[in-house]
Structures are given as structure tokens and as C-alpha cells.
């Protein structure tokens, strides 16, 4: 019987011939990512172990990205704990280099790997065909100490992509449309697998954006077929695939969706749920106080270029705070070279150093009572971006930038 990509990665990591959904396997992990959201808790638990031990320190990557630079005495203490531990144990450590998932994609992840990340958006790594999944700190600690973990083999939802996105429509519109269609729990415990001819029209940035958001449909992981674009991306970053898996022709999927990319339209996810998706045009005219272009979902050079192309020669609305936050230091430097940073600065944007910013809602950029944010971030849950009584609309880089110019929700064709 054939296997899906998820099944193949688990089988390889478990050292068995084949696996099927519902099986539980002990798997060897390739990489363990943790960020400043929870690492301090992991360290506390680690220090309470009778025999503290790290199975393979080379597999650990720790990244400070949520509150960078540090914005309170409380986070300063947890950062210090993380930094001191990383230093003492020789753990690969980044601080201020960017949002964890982007840093991982640029520097570590490769096809066919099985990766735990103490962050829900770890599923982003599926963009290069790696099985990335978010775990809590207890699971993380166990994997850190033993080098392995147990995994329930998920069923797979297959998305066959055909056609090509129309101009002005983005990968983010695609994944938000899918989440709207299957619902916020439509892929609970499952893997979301993407393939087909349409995938070839999507670049690596688009792919990361799609996989990253799959957790918003409840997915355990997201996976894409490895192709020339994947290999090219890895090569550019000095890496080779561990495995280049595709699903077998006779692989069994829980459900197959056929999506013609040409049918996707610019959309907006309304407060307070990611699957509360409507045609962007329906939201046109809604007053905004802040706009955010950034995050692991949409803070790459392609996203900044898209925003810059729209805002060049125009100004941010005087009453709007337009936060532009490159997803990594590499993206920032590239954007400096291309003059994109200056385009945003000239327009009146607030260009922050690479970090999670208002997507995480507990650091600089937060919104206040009754304020409205339009965001390229990952979530629009109630209170996510700051005050408990505030509102977050999710949209593409283009829509967010256009809205920042107008001072109300607008699509790119309106500015």
C-alpha cells in the first residue's frame, strides 16, 4: 500500500518499512527548535530532572524572536535564563536574527526531516517537504533529553493545485480561503499535503506562507512535494535534501481537494477567527488604526517588495501606524540593498528590527482599546494584538499596504 509524504517521513524517522494513519511510532528527531515564548519553562523543567542530559546538542536551535529587543523586566529575566543555558550547553542560539521559522528556513531545515518546534507555526517547514510540528515544552523536553519522541501517524488531506494565481492575488489569500473552506478545525490532527502543477507556480516564499498557516486549520503538519524550486532554495542556502518524498500514486488520503488557483480572490479574515474569511471587497472602508506587514507568514523579501511597489511615492495615512517588520536579518539586509527599507521610511512607515512584533501581541507595536489592526500576521484571535477589546483583520501584504495608505481597509487596486 502506498504512503503519503507524512507517512514516509515518519517511517524513515521510526526506521520501519511502512506506517499507516493511527499507528503510534517512536521517532528519531532531526531538529528541535525553541523560542523565547516558552524556553524558560523548558529550562525550569530540565533543571528539575534527576539526571539532566541533552541527547544531541547539535539538534537544538534556540531563537529569541518574540520580544526583541526585550521590552520588560519579566522577559529580560527569561531571555537571560535562555541565553545562559544556551551558552553553558553549547546550543545554537540566535537573538535578533529574525522570526524563528524564517531563521530555521534560511539556516537549518531540509527536505525529509522531522522537526519539533515549541511553536505552533512550526508546520511552516513543510514548504521544503520537512515534517515540522508544534509541541509544548514537556514534549520538547522529552525530545531534548532522549533525542526521540512518539508520534501518532496523521491522516492526510491532499490539496491538488492547478492553474495560477491571478495578479494581485497571493498565496496568503489561497491558504486563508482554504482555512475558510475547511474551518479552523478542518484538519485537526491531520497533515495537509500540497502538490500538483499549480504548486510549481508558487515560489518558496509563497510555500512557506501557505504551510505556516495550516495550523490555523488545526493541522499537525503541512507538507509540499519536493521539486526543482525546493532543491534550488536549499542549494542557495548551502543544503541538500535528506529525502525528497512525494506521495505514492496509491497513497490513501482522508480527502482530496482540487483547487484551481485562478479562482482565488483577495480575501480578509475578520475578527476574531482565522476561518472567518470574506472577500476583501466586503471589508473595504473599515477604519483602521494600525497596519502590520511582517511575521513568519508574510515578512519575507517578496512580501516587502509587494508592499513597497504599492507605497512607493505615496504616504502612509497620517493617523495610521504602519509597522513594517522584516522576518529576518537576512531579509532586512536584502531590503536595505534593494532600497525597499528607504521606500517604506520615506512613506512614513515604522520599520522595526526583525522580530515577531504585533503578530504576537505582547511586544512593541501593540494596539489599544477599541483599536483596529489590519495584519499579515498569523492570527486574529480576540486580544491577540494587544488590548482585549481590539480588532484584528488578516489580509495579504498588498491589502495591508493599501489600507495603510487609505486609513481604512482597501485593496491594492484602490490606491
Amino acid at each position: 500500500m502506498g504512503m503519503t509524504i507524512a507517512e514516509k517521513i515518519i517511517a524513515a524517522a521510526a526506521g520501519v518499512e511502512s506506517v499507516k494513519p493511527g499507528d503510534i511510532h517512536t521517532v528519531e528527531l532531526d531538529r528541535l527548535m525553541s523560542n523565547d515564548g516558552t524556553t524558560h519553562l523548558t529550562i525550569d523543567m530540565y533543571n528539575n530532572l534527576k539526571k539532566p542530559h541533552i541527547a544531541d546538542v547539535n539538534k537544538l536551535v534556540w531563537i529569541v524572536d518574540h520580544n526583541v529587543p526585550c521590552d520588560s523586566v519579566k522577559t529580560a529575566a527569561s531571555h537571560k535564563k535562555m541565553r545562559d543555558f544556551a551558552k553553558a550547553n553549547g546550543i545554537k542560539f540566535y537573538e535578533g536574527a529574525g522570526v524563528c521559522h524564517q531563521v530555521m528556513m534560511e539556516n537549518h531545515v531540509t527536505s525529509g526531516e522531522l522537526i519539533f518546534g515549541a511553536d505552533s507555526h512550526t508546520c511552516a517547514y513543510g514548504a521544503v517537504g520537512a515534517f515540522g510540528t508544534g509541541v509544548g515544552c514537556t514534549d520538547y523536553l522529552y525530545a531534548m533529553v532522549t533525542g526521540h519522541s512518539w508520534l501518532l501517524v496523521p491522516e492526510t488531506l491532499r490539496f491538488n493545485l492547478t492553474g495560477k494565481l491571478n495578479k494581485g492575488v497571493t498565496a496568503r489569500d489561497l491558504i486563508l480561503t482554504i482555512i475558510g473552506q475547511i474551518g479552523a478545525n478542518g484538519a485537526n490532527y491531520m497533515a495537509m499535503e500540497f502538490g500538483g502543477e499549480g504548486l510549481k507556480t508558487l515560489n518558496m516564499s509563497d510555500r512557506i506562507s501557505i504551510c505556516n498557516l495550516c495550523v490555523e486549520a488545526g493541522a499537525k503538519t503541512a507538507l509540499m512535494e519536493v521539486d526543482d524550486i525546493t532543491i534550488g532554495y536549499l542549494k542557495e542556502h548551502g543544503r541538500k535534501p535528506k529525502h525528497s518524498f512525494k506521495s505514492d500514486d496509491d497513497a490513501k488520503f482522508a480527502k482530496v481537494y482540487d483547487i484551481d488557483l485562478a479562482t482565488i480572490k483577495p480575501i480578509v479574515a475578520k475578527p476574531h477567527f482565522v476561518d472567518s474569511v470574506v472577500d476583501a471587497k466586503e471589508c473595504v472602508g473599515i477604519h483602521i488604526d494600525e497596519a502590520f506587514l511582517g511575521s513568519c507568514n508574510n515578512g519575507r523579501i517578496e512580501d516587502l517588495r509587494a508592499g513597497a511597489a504599492i507605497i512607493k511615492g505615496k504616504k502612509v495615512h497620517p493617523l495610521v501606524r504602519f509597522l513594517v517588520v522584516p522576518a529576518s536579518a537576512a531579509v532586512y539586509k536584502q531590503a536595505l540593498d534593494e532600497g525597499i527599507i528607504d521606500t517604506f521610511m520615506e512613506a512614513g512607515a515604522i520599520v522595526m528590527n526583525p522580530n515577531c512584533s504585533v503578530c504576537w501581541g505582547s511586544c512593541q507595536g501593540v494596539i489599544g482599546e477599541n483599536e483596529v489592526l489590519i495584519s499579515t500576521g498569523t492570527r486574529n484571535f480576540k486580544g491577540r494584538a494587544g488590548h482585549k477589546d481590539s480588532f484584528v483583520y488578516l489580509a495579504s501584504s498588498e491589502t495591508v499596504t493599501a489600507s495603510a495608505i487609505k486609513g481604512e481597509i482597501a485593496t491594492a487596486d484602490m490606491v
Binding site: 526583541v68 521590552d71 488604526d289 536579518a329 527599507i341 528590527n353 501593540v366 489599544g368
Partner: protein, 419 residues
Amino acid sequence: MGKTIIQKIIKNNTGIDAKPGDIVTVNVDRVMIHDIFIPFVASKFEEMGFTKLWDADKVVLVYDHLVPASQVDDTRHFKIGNEFVEKYGMKNIHRSDGICHQLMTEAGYVKPGDIVFGTDSHTTTYGCVGAFSSGIGYTEMASILGTGTMWVKVPETIKVNITGKLPDNVMAKDIILKLIRDLGADGATYKALEFAGDTVKNMSVASRMSMSNMAIEAGAKCALFSPDEKTAEYCEITLTDKERDLVADSDAVYCKEINYRAEDFVPVMACPSNVDNVKPVDEIISNAEGGNIAVDQVFIGSCTNGRLEDLMAAAEVLKGKKVAPFVKLIVTPASRKIYRQAAKNGTLKILAEAGAMITHPSCGLCCGRAGGILTDGEVVVATNNRNFLGRMGTSKVSIYLASPKTAASCAIEGRITHA
């Protein structure tokens, strides 16, 4: 009897030949309010019964301490500020353009000889272009907004002469720190400082700004530099005769004169937790246990040292090098204009390549609300103006104030050192 610069400014403003100790009422040329205090200024203004600004064009509002907001109630200050601007017909508002003191001179709000008040102690900065500027509280600001006037006691003046050429590893910051050490944190309280000598004449306006900015740390009411061709170029003006005359008379009377030779200056730091606790960097190192003080973070920015020449000085040190492992370097340009200049001339790229985090222009870490807060036992070397207990996190954080060159060297080495 001859006049000091401050006496001339007051004479030009009031027509009175005032002498130190006299109390005079001056006509205010410009005021600056920033985001932290606008809610208080607005409420006091209305409580006082005023219904209009004395001159809306003379009022400047700057959001800088809370940009970007780090706490959910911060944006309330923007809301109140925006309402005030709208209600009273103000035009001069900067919502994310940088630090107030940088913008006041950079955006042309302050000219030589002006009398300017701001709701911030570092308002003394504008003395760099020969303006009498001083910090006040929000109640007095509200009263100026209604009346356009303010009472001041004419200060005595301390004259500081500096002659010669500074060593390469010394910046204006080292001079002002040394002066604060020599005067003490209250050594210039109620007094004006006046800077003169060829070292000062050869200095850029940006360097003069670092010095006038920190005069308050010796308690000074203001700190003045005579306007010259550099000032004219910076302000994009041609000096009038009156402005050109803002030079102390040869028979002016000073309460104190201090003379320095530029060659004698060395890189210094203000050690925790007072700005006047200044020591040569070499002495700090040699007195340290094991001859080493590890540094956890370096901050280059603020209204004291966040200008283009500061960023370029740091970049010169950092070029081709990397920030030490586990050490953070945070760079916060003082204004949008500076950020753009530094982006265009490659300075930001050099800093980013070295591993710096470059944040949006704002007060950043200097005001201790975000931008690199620290915890117990950590050491920060910073180019800003204050190292008070608890200013950048817990009261067990050690803050050392230094020049951008010294700070950049510390970032590379991960310990206290100098260029």
C-alpha cells in the same frame, strides 16, 4: 558691563538688560511636548480655562517615548494627542519621525537666539544652535500654551573653554562626561553653561548637540554655543547680525571658568548609577576584578548620540567585524531622516552585517520602556544620557554611559574597552 550669551538672548527677547538673579518674563518662541506628557498637558490646559493656543504654529508635538507602543494603554496617549491637535488646529506633529530633541533642530523649529521650552529635561539640547532652551513640567507647559510667556530667573554662567585637537578615540561625549564629573551632578544647577574655544568651533553641530543635551546632567538650565557658519548650514539659514552677535562680550562676567586642553581627554564612561560617576575606561578596567567587565548589551542611540556621525563612528569600528557571541547590539537612530541617510550611505548595512538590531527611530532603551530592557546582574554600555538606578530594567542592572566609538568597541569585545 559685558553680557554672556544668555543675557544677550534675554535682552533681545524682553528688551531688559537683566543681570543674573533677576526674574523676567520672556516671550516664548517655540514649545515642544512629547507623548508621555501630552495627556497631562491637555488636561491642565483645559483645567486652567484656556480655550485656544496662544499660537498653534509655535507648538510642536512629538510621539517618541512610546513608539512603537509596548503596553496596551500607551496608544491612549496618541489618541489624546491626536484629539488635541485636531481641536486646537495644530500642524506641527510628528507621530513616528524620531526623538523630539533631534526633530526640533533638524526640522527647523529652533533658530539661534530663540527661547524654547519643552516637557523634557533634555530640552537643553537646542543650545547647540545658540537657543535658550530648557525643560519644564506639564503644568507650566499648559500655562505657556495659553499665555505664550514664562518667568525665568536669569542664570549665572559657567564658561567652558576647550582648545586643541581631540585624540582619535575621543568624542564630544567624552568631553561632556568629563565636564559633568568635574562639575558634579548639581554643579551647574540654576546656571547656564557656555562653550567656547577652537575645539568647539571645529566641532559639528551634531557633536555640540551631544554636549548641550547632557548639560542637564550637571543640573544646568541651558547650555549655549555661539551660532557660527556650521550652525547656519545646519539650520539652513543665513545668520542675521543679531544672531551673529550671540557671542559673549569680552568683559562678560562668569561665576566660573573651566579650561580644558583637547589633547588631555581620554575615553571615559559614567559608571553605575550616577552620571557624574565618570572614570577613564582604562581605569575602570584596571580596577575591575580580574581586569575584565563582561558586557551583555550595547545600545547606540538616543538624543545624545543617535545622529549620523555617531552611527558612522560606530560603523567605522564595527566594519568587517562581528558583535561578540551572546552580546546584543541595539542601534536606534535618532530620527527618520538620520535613518534614511544611514541607509543610503551604507552605514546601516555595516551595522546589520556586524549583527546589530536596528530599531525604528525613537527614544528606545534610553527611556526604559522597551528597546532592550535588562535584568539582574546584566551590564549594558549605552550612548544615552542617564544611567540612573533602574533606568533600563531592574535596579541590579549596571549601566555604563559612553561614546558611540567606545560602545561599538565593547560590542565587539563583549567587555568594557575602548577604541
